[in-house]
Symmetry: C2
Subunit: 361 residues, 2 copies
């Protein structure tokens, strides 16, 4: 039997690695519980800095700054899965770091991630490791086309991905990877994309929000609808897959598992696409649409507090505000059942997530 974890209650200090919108919304939620936040980020003007008690601006390899940051807080989390392993190890040597380094290592590398998921006997797209042009040629023969070539590391929002439509253009595709280790994945002709966002705490309690149905545009999440338009049975299978993953990682915090739903004569199937060891864009609706937001749930989980109710308040539509769409802020403010959240980014760029709105009906 597990012993109860340390409890970090009101007055505790939370260190957050990364200073973007996810860190900002974690800090805002921690504040509700009188937990103050200290942000560690290389960015000069980060969105989270405006709502945090303290900010350290330093590089992820600045060991002196990392140590001082760790020593100034009681517990540490992060907002993105690309925290360098050495950074994570240094922090974890000084303070509890959640989610743990297993979760980071597994999700930082698409090949390890796919192998991990497959190893749990959960469905993933067929995949093939690609280090050489011969690997690629061989992989395409095995997986067939179309298929998708991705860098193993540092991909997000479709960056580092190229779709291979036929058995030509392989050299060009390979060159685009610039020699980075890659993975080739079978193309999944999905009918929907969904995500399971859930929390697991140190004593193994697991609690999932209602499943999100996600619509991407140019590889960037554009809309999330809840509940997802899938069969109850599919939802159960999806949640149980996410739980299996979280349990296997001894995961503590909020986790997101992105999945494809395919559909044929025999019914719906899920195929797991990606694991995000953090709060997730597709659950931003929980701030306004659930009894407990994913951000507070994350804080509760990592601080050893009881998980909150995930009851939903209505039918949900979340819309990301990307790039110039931020100019529509005044329209959004005028919509009666719409909750506007802007991230305080000083510069608008195409494809940059500037905020989101949640419509609850």
């Amino acid at each position: 039997m597990k012993s109860m974890p340390n409890v970090f209650g009101p007055g505790s200090r939370l260190g957050i690695v990364g200073g973007g919108q996810l860190a900002r919304m974690i800090a805002l939620s921690a504040a509700e519980l009188a937990i103050s936040s200290h942000i560690f980020t290389p960015e000069p003007h980060c969105p989270a800095g405006d709502v945090a008690a303290q900010v350290t601006q330093a590089e992820y390899d600045d060991e002196v700054a990392l140590a001082a940051f760790a020593d100034s807080v009681d517990i540490i989390t992060y907002e993105f899965e690309n925290v360098p392993a050495k950074t994570a190890a240094l922090l974890a040597s000084r303070r509890p770091l959640h989610p743990n380094s297993d979760a980071l290592e597994t999700t930082q590398d698409r090949l390890l991630e796919k192998e991990f998921i497959a190893g749990l006997n959960l469905p993933v797209a067929s995949f093939h490791a690609i280090d050489t042009i011969e690997d690629l040629s061989h992989g395409v023969q095995i997986l067939g086309s179309p298929c998708i070539l991705k860098t193993r590391r540092f991909g997000y929002d479709g960056k580092g991905q190229i779709k291979i439509e036929a058995n030509d253009g392989l050299n060009r595709a390979f060159d685009e990877m610039s020699g980075a280790p890659a993975i080739l994945e079978a193309y999944i002709p999905f009918t929907r994309e969904i995500s399971v966002v859930a929390a697991r705490n140190a004593v193994g309690e697991f609690c999932a929000f209602d499943i999100c149905e996600n619509v991407h545009r140019d590889h960037i999440l554009q809309f999330t609808y809840v509940p997802a338009n899938i069969q109850n049975k599919t939802a159960e299978i999806a949640i149980s897959a996410a739980r299996k993953i979280a349990d296997a990682l001894q995961y503590v915090g909020v986790i997101a598992v992105e999945m494809f739903v395919t559909s044929d004569g025999s019914g719906e199937r899920i195929i797991i696409n990606e694991i995000a060891p953090r709060v997730h864009n597709s659950a931003h609706w929980t701030i306004d649409g659930a009894n407990t937001s994913q951000f507070q749930q994350h804080v509760r989980a990592i601080c050893g507090l009881p998980l909150g109710s995930v009851a939903r308040r209505g039918t949900i539509e979340m819309e990301n505000i990307v790039g110039d769409a931020t100019q529509r802020w005044l329209d959004f403010l005028g919509e009666p059942n719409t909750h506007l959240h802007l991230y305080g980014k000083r510069e608008t760029r195409p494809g940059r997530k500037m905020g989101h709105v949640t419509r609850v009906r």
Copy 2:
């Protein structure tokens, strides 16, 4: 016809005078709209400081610090009505200050406040200005006993009040005022206490939250229930009185009007007790229980933005966490429909407001 006011949108900088929990919750709401906050407070570790982009710690008569504070922001508000007139004037000379100085002056002085309300032909308790012991003796004769002697200025949570039960003990009561200008008010045998919390913007739009029914303990708000258990007709009269007050003050921002409800054979009547030119404890439930919180509504009003929907999400009970009750935080976190808000105060003192919970059913 009125011209449209200046609009302060995302990226604007909001100055907040005072660093307590009201400032903290205003700052948290402003952040949702990417409006960053700068707190001005004499306190060394203020609750609002942990969630604000900037804090100036200085006295309210430090004109250099006040000027620098004003120059660093686009618009200024405050969290309490006892901002010194000179401080307010200096700030208002440099940046838009909402609510305006009329609202401050009127509500800082119980005598001016009562005269103002009576001047609008709205019901107030009978009152009598008290400067001398002869005034007091005369006042008690006119108003009868029991009646209540209050300092004209700087009273809150029952401080500076003494109940006079009969025509003796007048010297002692007078001495307790320590020579401060005072006001004697008739005692109102009320059946309920309610508050109307509403927003008015610069073009005169007015929007009230559902009326709050308030229960005090030791003069400190303990519970708020919404909807108030009063007749619809009474609610209409109460809201229309609040609107008349806000209009007369050319008020911009959130205003709270505290009222007594009396009841006799001829039905319910309201009697106005006090005006608070700010966000108000009795509407803290709006964070979790209304489509727009009073804090965001205040930011919208002062920034020239459209007012938000005040639709309520259920039946509400708000409980203040006062003094040692803050030790119950873990119990509150475990209640399923309960939203916990702690203010990050470092020291717990009897009678100190440490946080609140909102139960939505």
